[in-house]
Symmetry: C2
Subunit: 159 residues, 2 copies
């Protein structure tokens, strides 16, 4: 692949570019709280979207826990569209805004396979706090409204 | 990340594992036919799904054309669930079967952002023909039923 210049449309989200490593913690009304190690990557290919991948692993064993992949589209006037596939059989179409060094999105629709968990919505906030990238993720399931599920913080690496 | 043994549930799709490079051609009632270069990767992390990424580029310039990412879930009795995110603002929940060294899936539902092209369904066939991996992709859009759109063939690489 050729190396591409950053598309000017991506300037508002250029603060996300790179590989980020950190740790997070999860909670939900139905589960025991847990901690995890995480790596997030945002790359680009010259077009008007960021390419997003993420994976988490157990802090003690390194065992893979979760992963997801998708695309963050910049569609003008600070509006963002985040399309994410999850290996639990779940796809998000999330919409929101970038405001300064902060992005907030919420599911406009979700797709689920017949065997997926009954996740009905996710909302995500992602922001740069000085040199620390942070996110919070809230999740709704059948019978449970949007509740805090995950939060994590990261430092940019050179990997 | 720790290296993981292949989950036994993935044995029926182990023929997909690896990095594949090849070329394809696209057509559709509304466009001029075109050729492209493509790389597909199927990896795993010990769980019951394959991790899928793909990207295409122009044969002459190397310019990025398309990319997608997702997960191929094996859910028993040869049933597969393919969750795919596309940077055009599109997410597929596709269902189908693996039969020998061939997989056929069709969209059970699609998710689209407000700015996405009006793709309404995709069906995909992917099969190993001796040492050549091949796929065919059919696409429906508003006003156009499922029509042949892409076909490509690949050799496994060591990259």
């Amino acid at each position: 692949m050729i190396a591409a210049d950053l598309n000017p449309a991506l300037t508002p989200v250029a603060f996300l570019l790179g590989t980020w490593r950190g740790e997070g913690e999860g909670q939900y009304p139905t589960i025991k709280p847990f901690r995890y190690r995480e790596e997030i990557r945002f790359t680009h290919n010259g077009k008007t979207f960021l390419i997003y991948t993420q994976r988490t692993e157990a802090i003690d064993t390194g065992q893979p826990l979760h992963g997801e992949a998708g695309y963050l589209r910049l569609v003008g006037d600070g509006r963002v569209e985040f399309v994410i596939a999850q290996p639990i059989g779940f796809a998000e179409i999330s919409l929101g805004r970038v405001d300064g060094q902060r992005i907030d999105v919420t599911c406009a629709s979700v797709g689920r396979t017949p065997t997926a968990k009954p996740v009905t919505s996710i909302s995500r906030s992602l922001w740069l706090d000085q040199e620390t990238l942070r996110y919070e993720l809230r999740m709704a399931m059948e019978g449970v409204p949007l509740e805090r599920h995950l939060e994590a913080s990261f430092r940019r690496t050179n990997a």
